[in-house]
């Protein structure tokens, strides 16, 4: 954070360093059902992020003592490939990845209905092939599509997008440069129909007004993402499965 930079994050016309307007997301494409072996899967490109989500389950749980006799258990691993970032990352899970795995799991748990699957596990694997700013949001977006693709019962989809503060302005969908040199980054996940926020984090400083604006901006982004998720699921069946 706070790395010195000589790029202009926001020019006088309100154009950001990657050419976007302040209320514009990066390009997002999602494809459902891309892995043959997994029960459900999705691939997302969200700006420079390239992430595969794979779901296995509900299935037998190992080790057995993790089983819950009343409900199924959702497990989640967010994992970056060694080549996904400019400096090669050690393949072993870092503290950051373990924490992100947990917040992603907790952002999805409110949506999945696991009561009908006692003593089982649903394993969600998020493999980051290439990382850019906002990879946890992109991972959640792919995860939600993969869970729906696997036929896991869900109360709602979960759609995620970040907002942030750059040059004292609230902007939608913070990219890597803005994350490094900007003033705040706030990832948000939303259940769009139930209008429940299932993830919110913040790095940086915002006034109360800015905080509200930032949340509103992120929610608009989440709703845009939701439409893309829905089209991805629909496209899978329109193309003959």
């Amino acid at each position: 954070m706070g790395r010195k930079t000589d790029i202009t994050l926001l020019d006088e016309k309100g154009i950001r360093c990657d050419g976007r307007k302040i209320d514009q997301t990066r390009n997002i494409t999602i494809k459902a059902g891309i892995l043959k072996n997994a029960d459900g899967s999705a691939y997302i490109e969200f700006g420079g992020n390239k992430i595969i989500a794979g779901v296995y389950g509900p299935r037998d749980i190992h080790p057995k003592h993790l089983a819950d006799s009343d409900t199924g258990v959702l497990r989640c691993r967010y994992h970056m490939q060694p080549f996904s970032v400019p400096e090669r990352k050690n393949p072993a899970p870092s503290r950051r990845e373990i924490e992100i795995s947990k917040v992603i799991k907790e952002s999805l748990q409110p949506a999945v209905i696991l009561d009908d699957f006692p003593r089982t596990a649903i394993d969600l694997y998020l493999e980051v092939l290439q990382a850019d700013g906002g990879s946890r949001c992109a991972a959640i977006d792919a995860a939600s599509v993969a869970l729906a693709d696997a036929g896991i019962p869900m109360r709602d989809m979960v759609s995620a997008c970040a907002a942030g503060k750059v040059e004292n302005t609230i902007v939608l969908d913070v990219n890597n440069e803005e994350d490094q040199a900007g003033q705040a980054d706030m990832p948000v996940a939303l259940m769009p129909h139930l209008e429940k926020i299932t993830l919110v984090q913040l790095d940086g400083m915002l006034t109360p007004d800015e905080y509200k604006k930032c949340l509103e901006t992120a929610i608009i982004g989440c709703k845009q993402v939701y439409e893309i998720q829905r089209s991805a699921l629909k496209a899978k069946y329109e193309n003959g499965g």
Partner: protein
């Protein structure tokens, strides 16, 4: 008779209807709204609402016929992979009768790892793995044929109304088709072109299960010569 008034592609969270309708499969109620829990096709009847899921795993139900694969043997029972989140249990006395003795009978002499059986679910509840039985006509070890794995959600479409679809396939190909509700299907046929054709039709049904004119597609694929 209940009439379908609307069929629509839906995703989880989508509101399908509002009002005092009965909620059937794959929907839940939130206040006045009835909401889908899965990717599927919504159907609104005169007084009820449901969604036909397009994907998902097999959940055992008592009396379902399933095809299972032996994955391990112990002293008293076999464990079978039934393409579900639970393993199927087949007790030794199902095969050896009431005189079964762990010291004189060897389970693997009757069923080996990897063998397929057609069985019925005799018992299942939230706290126990499904118990299988093979004590009925037509059940037991499957001696020949090719295993095809399709989505369990597709099985009702493969069978068709009163078995119409499956009978059409069998009579046009001379294939014999054993169907497990768990999405596993074994096809056997004396002549290889009939076998290939039957498999092709089953796979087509699996990938097109959500289209409305499925029966016509089945017929035209069966009538097409060779490739």
């Amino acid at each position: 008779m209940m009439e379908i008034t609307k069929r629509k592609f839906v995703t989880p969270g989508e509101v399908i209807a509002t009002g005092p309708l009965r909620t059937e499969n794959n929907v839940y109620r939130d206040g006045d709204k009835i909401i889908s829990t899965c990717v599927g096709i919504s159907e609104i009847f005169e007084n009820s609402v449901r969604v036909m899921a397009l994907s998902g795993i097999y959940m055992p139900r008592i009396d379902d016929a399933v095809i299972g694969k032996v994955q391990s043997t112990s002293l008293m029972f076999w464990e079978l992979d039934i393409n579900s989140c639970y393993v199927g249990i087949l007790r030794a006395d199902e095969v050896f009768g009431r005189d079964y003795s762990a010291s004189s009978n060897d389970l693997s002499s009757k069923l080996r790892k990897g063998d397929l059986i057609l069985a019925r679910i005799a018992n299942f509840d939230r706290s126990r793995d499904p118990l299988l039985t093979i004590k009925s006509r037509g059940l037991g070890k499957i001696e020949s044929g090719e295993l095809i794995k399709i989505s369990p959600m597709t099985i009702p479409r493969l069978i068709g109304r009163q078995g119409a679809t499956i009978q059409t396939i069998e009579s046009n190909t001379n294939a014999r088709i054993k169907i497990g509700q768990n999405g596993w299907v074994v096809v056997s046929c004396e002549d290889s072109s009939g076998l290939l054709k039957a498999i092709k039709v089953i796979k087509m049904i699996d990938s097109q299960s959500h289209v409305p004119d499925l029966m016509e597609r089945v017929k035209s694929l069966l009538e097409s010569e060779g490739e």
